[in-house]
């Protein structure tokens, strides 16, 4: 028995296996995921596992190593989020998102830090020795909203797109602020004296971290797009490039102490457009599947480890501190959202209603990032207190807020996601509106949102596309083939169900279409296969087809069910009009 030899990979595989089996388990029992979010169940499983290990070994179970978390578990999730981020709503709301992410986080950090310091001053709690700096340090790591947790909870409740993108965008972008503040306060803890120059350096550092992350992401994104231009003959390794470049951007940013999350998101968003045009359909599917798979596994592992690490002797319980931490987190978040939204609504026509505000405030979940950061703290005598407080906050937000957010959303009748299939007409109209507004802005000389969008499109088409895209060849064949295959399949199904009176042949369907539209003679009759092609053409002309299906669902891919559904819909529609 040579266990030592295979120990490490064996144990890793066992953990991943456990995670995946747990996932199967939840979905076998249908009612459970709708009541209790998956993240809660996973933490629960982790708690059980931790308890078992503790009972067996009689020492603390292996705590999640922060390095493993930051280097291996976090990037896939963030990459998945960035790649499938609907860029249109994101950029429309980017001002608000940045405001929440930057100003909101800073507000939370200082608010929580100072109020906890105030609590520490009370003699009865025996907390005198926790200094202001320590409190601020703690504040900086607990204030940030966690993208993993937000994703896990929000993907199941399907709120309207704008709300989703606000909370989600904020959770992703606040990483820059968190990184800066955390590192800042940590270095302050070790410095004997703090001068005001250091504070200014901190502020400057924030800009460096944020913008540096964006630059790194852009560089790698463009390089990735450029590389895929030449991969025509070696299609098999195309998906690899997507992952390699994104991961490299994350690691490079971390190496330079920049914000890795921002870098990987910018990389994914930037390269998506060009890479999708360059790589083959099969590579595209591979990329999607692998991304979803990895992020799913990471997600599960993170929550399980969170549960496991909770058990053990790492904690020092000081009830007042912990309770007040939880209370202050909630209060300061609510206050922050209120104040910021007040400012935002003054400048925007599309106001954020108070219901939305409540959901934004309530959706501020903390998660594994806080947990890892607290373990990275230098060892000082109050570290265990912080660990305990962090654990309680995370468990509270995930369990209590995670479980109650769905009934609350129903109760408050928050505007839900519009569940409709994308139509070609809608895309045409929206694009028309874009151009119209850009034109009006040009005429009036106003540099508004559409003006910049238009300029970017122009720059894109003139320069970027020429460099980054391969020659536009018409790959109609594979798409039309796939569509025809689907249509044939559905036609056969319908025939089997006995609905079609005569043989399901395309020509007869087409003949009836001609009379439906007009009585002018149409040479290019409305071909069902062309409809899918139309969407592809529109997409290739950089007109993004908005998928209104759940984009971040861990269990299905975006657009997976759509072509089939669409084909069926069209067939049925046409059949009705016969």
């Amino acid at each position: 028995l040579d266990y030592q030899h295979v120990q490490v990979p064996f144990e890793i595989t066992l953990w991943i296996m456990l995670a995946s089996l747990a996932k199967i388990g939840f979905h076998l029992y249908n009612k459970l995921p709708s009541v209790v979010p998956e993240s809660c169940l996973l933490i629960f499983v982790g708690l059980i596992m931790g308890g078992i290990i503790y009972g067996l070994n009689d020492k603390s179970p292996p705590v999640m190593d922060s390095d493993i978390f930051f280097l291996y578990l976090l990037p896939p999730i963030v990459l998945d989020a960035g790649y499938f981020m609907p860029s249109r709503p994101f950029f429309e709301n980017i001002g608000t998102i940045l405001l929440y992410a930057v100003v909101g986080t800073i507000w939370n950090v200082f608010g929580i830090g100072f109020s906890l310091y105030g609590i520490c001053q009370v003699k009865a709690f025996h907390l005198q020795d926790v200094s202001l700096l320590h409190n601020l340090l703690f504040g900086s790591l607990i204030a940030a909203v966690d993208p993993v947790a937000v994703l896990a909870v929000f993907e199941e409740i399907h709120v309207n797109e704008k709300l989703h993108i606000l909370v989600f965008g904020e959770s992703l972008l606040n990483d820059a602020v968190t990184v800066v503040l955390y590192k800042l306060f940590r270095s302050f803890c070790e410095m004997p004296a703090i001068k005001s120059m250091d504070v200014f350096a901190g502020v400057g550092k924030f800009f460096v971290v944020g913008l540096g992350g964006v630059l790194v992401g852009l560089t790698f994104g463009m390089t990735a797009a450029f590389t895929t231009r030449f991969t025509k003959d070696i299609r098999v390794i195309e998906p690899l490039f997507v992952f390699l470049y994104s991961y490299l951007s994350y690691l490079t940013a971390e190496m330079f102490h920049l914000s890795g999350i921002v870098a990987i998101i910018v990389c994914a968003m930037g390269m998506k457009r060009y890479v999708e045009a360059n790589i083959s359909l099969k590579s595209h599917t591979t990329v999607k599947y692998f991304m979803k798979m990895w992020s799913s596994v990471s997600d599960t592992l993170i929550f399980i480890f969170l549960g496991v690490s909770t058990i053990g002797e790492n904690h020092e319980w000081n009830w007042p501190y912990i309770c007040f931490t939880v209370i202050f987190c909630l209060i300061w978040r609510a206050l922050g959202v209120l104040v910021l939204t007040f400012f935002v609504n003054r400048f925007h026509v599309n106001t954020i209603t108070s219901k939305d505000q409540f959901i934004i405030a309530y959706g501020g979940l903390r998660g594994a990032i806080c947990f890892s950061l607290v373990f990275l703290l230098p060892d000082f005598h109050r570290k265990k207190l912080f660990i305990a407080a962090t654990t309680v906050v995370i468990l509270f937000t995930v369990f209590v807020q995670g479980m109650t957010i769905r009934p609350l959303v129903d109760l408050l009748a928050v505007k839900r996601k519009r569940e409709s299939a994308p139509t070609v007409g809608e895309q045409i109209h929206i694009r028309f509106l874009d151009h119209l507004l850009a034109g009006i802005e040009d005429i009036s000389g106003h540099w508004g949102q559409y003006y910049w969008k238009d300029k970017l499109e122009y720059f894109n088409s003139k320069y970027l596309q020429k460099i980054l895209l391969r020659e536009y060849d018409q790959p109609k064949s594979s798409i039309v083939l796939l569509y025809e295959k689907l249509e044939r399949k559905h036609a056969i199904e319908l025939a089997e169900a006995g609905q079609l009176g005569h043989a399901p042949s395309h020509p007869s369907l087409l003949n009836n279409d001609r009379t439906v539209i007009t009585d002018k003679k149409l040479e290019d009759a409305l071909n069902p296969d062309v409809l899918e092609n139309i969407q592809e053409i529109l997409a290739r002309n950089l007109y993004r087809i908005r998928r209104t299906g759940p984009a971040y669902n861990r269990h299905t891919l975006p657009g997976e069910t759509e072509p089939a559904e669409h084909a069926k819909e069209i067939l049925i529609l046409r059949h009705k009009s016969l």
Binding site: V349, I428, G439, H446, I517, I534, S577
Partner: protein, 171 residues
């Protein structure tokens, strides 16, 4: 009208013809007749710009609805180039062709099929089931309203000017 052509940024806009046209369209200028005027003065210019007014906070349902209808009517006039109150297939095709004219690789065939597809969708939304010999003539304004139901145009179709006083002069 030639002055509009001299605006540099407008050159790259694929639907600039329609935009310029809209400024001179008598229906948008709230005049009784049909057709185009030759020149517009500043007041007319403001009238057109007022279609892009952002909504105010304290509007009630009825006002919002009226607002929405006005903006959609402006759009409808842009689609309907021959002023007959209906968007026919040919006009729709025209619009799509112009929109996609930016890309030199796209053939006319594809643009036409896209327009046909969109027209079919419009037909299915507006009219539902039709018999085999019925002919769908064109999209009327009511149908147009139905098509735009999903898109909240009140909040999208506006331009925020730094100086709001001039807009107030229109109403």
């Amino acid at each position: 009208k030639e002055n509009f052509d001299s605006i540099p940024d407008l050159e790259f806009n694929p639907i600039r013809g329609k935009i310029v046209h809209a400024f001179f369209d008598k229906r948008n200028l709230r005049q009784e007749s049909d057709g185009l005027v030759d020149e517009i003065n500043f007041e007319d210019f403001l009238t057109i710009m007022s279609y892009f007014r952002p909504i105010e906070m304290n509007m009630d349902e009825e006002q919002l609805d009226r607002f929405r209808k006005e903006k959609l009517k402006f759009l409808f006039h842009m689609y309907d180039s021959d002023h007959d109150g209906k968007i026919t297939l040919q006009e729709y095709r025209n619009v799509v062709e112009e929109l996609l004219s930016g890309n030199p690789h796209l053939e006319k065939e594809s643009a036409r099929s896209i327009a046909d597809g969109a027209m079919l969708e419009a037909a299915s939304i507006c009219v539902g089931q039709m018999g085999p010999d019925q002919v769908y003539e064109g999209i009327t304004f009511d149908d147009f309203l139905k098509m735009w139901q999903g898109i909240d145009i009140e909040t999208k179709m506006h331009v925020r000017f730094l100086n709001m006083e001039t807009i107030a002069h229109c109403y």
